[in-house]
Amino acid sequence: MHDVVILGSGPAGMSAAITAAEYGLAPLVVDEQPAPGGQVYRAIQGTPLRNRTLLGEAYWQGEALVDRLRDTRIDYRPATRVWQLTRQREIGLLRGERAELVQAHQVILATGAMERPFPIPGWTLPGVMTAGSGQILLKSSGVVPQAPLVIAGTGPLLLLLAVQYLRVGVPIAALLDTTPPGRYRQGLPHLPGALRNPRTLAKGLRWLRELRHAGVRHIKQVSSLRAEGDERLERVAWQCHGQDGWKTLEASTLLLHQGVIPHTQITQALGCEHEWDARQLAWRPRLDEWLRTDIEGIAVAGDGGGIVGAQAAELQGRLAGLGAAHALGAIPAGQAAKEAHRQRSRLARETAIRPFLDTLYRPAPQWRLPADDTLVCRCEEVTAGEIRRMAELGCRGPNQTKAFTRCGMGPCQGRLCGLTVSELLADANGQSIEETGYYHLRPPFTPITLGQLAAASQASKALSAGPGASPPSPEPH
């Protein structure tokens, strides 16, 4: 039985582990990546881009956390995937061909964010990828798109990637900005909050200046976008607000991005209570002041509980680590409360910029509710039109459309269509998104063979026989 098991080794996971170890616990940290850092500090130990100005100081801030993860009390297991987590906190792990089950008193989910789906016509063509994927290729392998490259969408990551490409000498044919008109005006009331975090605000302004000085063709108020080509991307076509006709540009790579959303696959499958965040336009698990879900012993730190950014994720990791130590009696209640109060104040300061950013970069409806001919479910190739037709036939929620169309039933288990389908059904049925709901998800979270499952089942029997543990024996699927 482990004190605390932490899933994910991004800023939240690492700082949760470091904090738990500081209070004398022996945390187990598992992560599917081969090295620590999560997506934001991805490949920080191995990146070929050693010149620090290229990826920027914010990236290299992750080094301090990675160094402290080497604490001997922390059992860090890379390249390990989680295929199951039960309400009794039994966790199924898979490393290479080896499956195993472990049990924890406390679980901290630090599974971070994923990019918001960006369904446009042609987004499944080879050559169309996400901005996040471009950044991962850059950080981990120094691999970059060949010209002509088009970047499209909205949000801080898009600008950061453009700046990073400029610094390494990758030409950008065009930056198609889908930020709708009026967003700056709408963001204005939130500016005082943003000014509580001037560092982040200044960083964004610096990126915009850098792009302007480099003379990047920045096309604003893009209102429609298509990726075109036969078998692979050949052209990007777009329209701007208030203008007729399509413009096109030849492209071999198109990188899309419209913000990030909490990666809630595990909390949804667990059946944690979730709420719709109307400002961030995403589901997030309902958390208390210690970042605990409504399931005993399971907390969420970092972007998986609502988008907060890397700095705040680190602070949340501290808070969750502290909470675990407190729950296990490793720290006196008074001290825990005092320290938690300190972390919450820092967190409030750090996240004060979110309402401004969320408002400024809120994707317009047409980017979330695509036209009928656009594929929504990439795996099973279901279009937005088919989902709307299902609504006409009386489907109220995504589990019904899943049963009728297979939408969300493919290998990604609805990760890339779930949000779009919920929003489409809510819109088509004239009902709230809360009434519409989300997919019912089930383990395994990741592909696992029957052989691996059988081995894990044997391990589970041994675990059940152990003292103090009574997990349910898993039934092979």
Partner: protein
């Protein structure tokens, strides 16, 4: 589609060889299989079970499952989650080959 940067102070890293279908390709140690394929100008790593349309890596972080390939005889491997190794035999996954 993609290329390797060559900046003055970049470590070159050691080279590994792998097969993709019938092609003998090179990559750098530390690349994921997906990065290795993209840097080798491989256009598509699989075709879909529904329409047979070609697909390539999309998210590079294990979310989209577009980069499913067969690695050393094991189907349904997410190419973006597995480091490429010397002598690896990778096959594109067509249609329903990976099961459904």
């Amino acid at each position: 589609m993609f290329q390797r940067l060559s900046l003055p102070d970049m470590p070159r890293g050691s080279e590994v060889s792998f097969r993709f279908g019938e092609q003998e390709l090179q990559a750098r140690e530390g690349d994921s299989v997906a990065a290795a394929l993209l840097a080798s100008d491989v256009l598509a790593c699989r075709s879909t079970p529904v329409s047979g349309s070609p697909r390539a890596p999309y998210c590079m972080m294990g979310v989209c499952f577009e980069c499913l390939v067969e690695v050393d005889g094991v189907p349904n491997v997410q190419a973006c989650q597995v480091p490429v190794r010397d002598g690896m035999r990778i096959r594109p996954q067509h249609g329903t080959e990976g099961g459904r």
